[in-house]
Amino acid sequence: GIQVEQSPPDLILQEGANSTLRCNFSDSVNNLQWFHQNPWGQLINLFYIPSGTKQNGRLSATTVATERYSLLYISSSQTTDSGVYFCAVLLTSGTYKYIFGTGTRLKVLA
């Protein structure tokens, strides 16, 4: 089956630092979403980005579907950015199923 791997698995930053999170997938996908799971467990939508580049404030994302990866950029990180970041891909082949990546656990220190 499809593999969705995220890197790095863990990341510790000082407040104000920038970071890049990566999502690699092993098969063709229709859609890709980035989520932030906050410390209370709520999955918050960040980007719906099957291809191209999008920006929302301090966050931006780029998906290169032909090369099977997506990147999430966080600039000027804040303590409220702490949590787990997941990418989820929608398969094109077989059943239309969203597969979540392994996650990146981010901790931003004050």
Binding site: N31, Q33, F35, W40, G41, Q42, L43, N45, Y48, F86, A88, L90, T95, Y96, K97, Y98, I99, F100, G101, T102, G103
Partner: protein, 116 residues
């Protein structure tokens, strides 16, 4: 616009007891998903509905788990009997529908189940 609503938020039961979770999706969303999330892992799909039809239930342990989505709106996920290994967070999500060009998923707050 209201988001995905789930209840209860927390549930503690003893093993072998039944338990049920309820989900109300975003209005107008045809697709409804139930996911299981174990500690430290990403969500895993249990079942997906397109309107009233369960179109993907391949990951649902059918010996003890059941689900329904009457009238294509609200959904209930049931476990009977619960086992210790069922302790996890159960997430509901909805999206406009796979037939549409835009199909972003939105998640509810989840139900944290503890089986003693």
């Amino acid at each position: 616009e209201a988001g995905v609503v789930q209840s209860p938020r927390y549930k503690i039961i003893e093993k072998k007891q039944p338990v049920a979770f309820w989900c109300n999706p975003i209005s107008g969303h045809n697709t409804l998903y139930w996911y299981l999330q174990n500690l430290g892992q990403g969500p895993e799909l249990l079942i997906r509905y397109e309107n009233e039809e369960a179109v993907d239930d391949s990951q649902l342990p059918k010996d003890r788990f059941s689900a329904e989505r009457l009238k294509g709106v609200d959904s209930t996920l049931k476990i009977q009997p619960a086992e210790l290994g069922d302790s996890a967070v159960y997430l509901c999500a909805s999206s406009p529908g796979l037939a549409r060009s835009y199909n972003e998923q939105f998640f509810g707050p989840g139900t944290r189940l503890t089986v003693l």
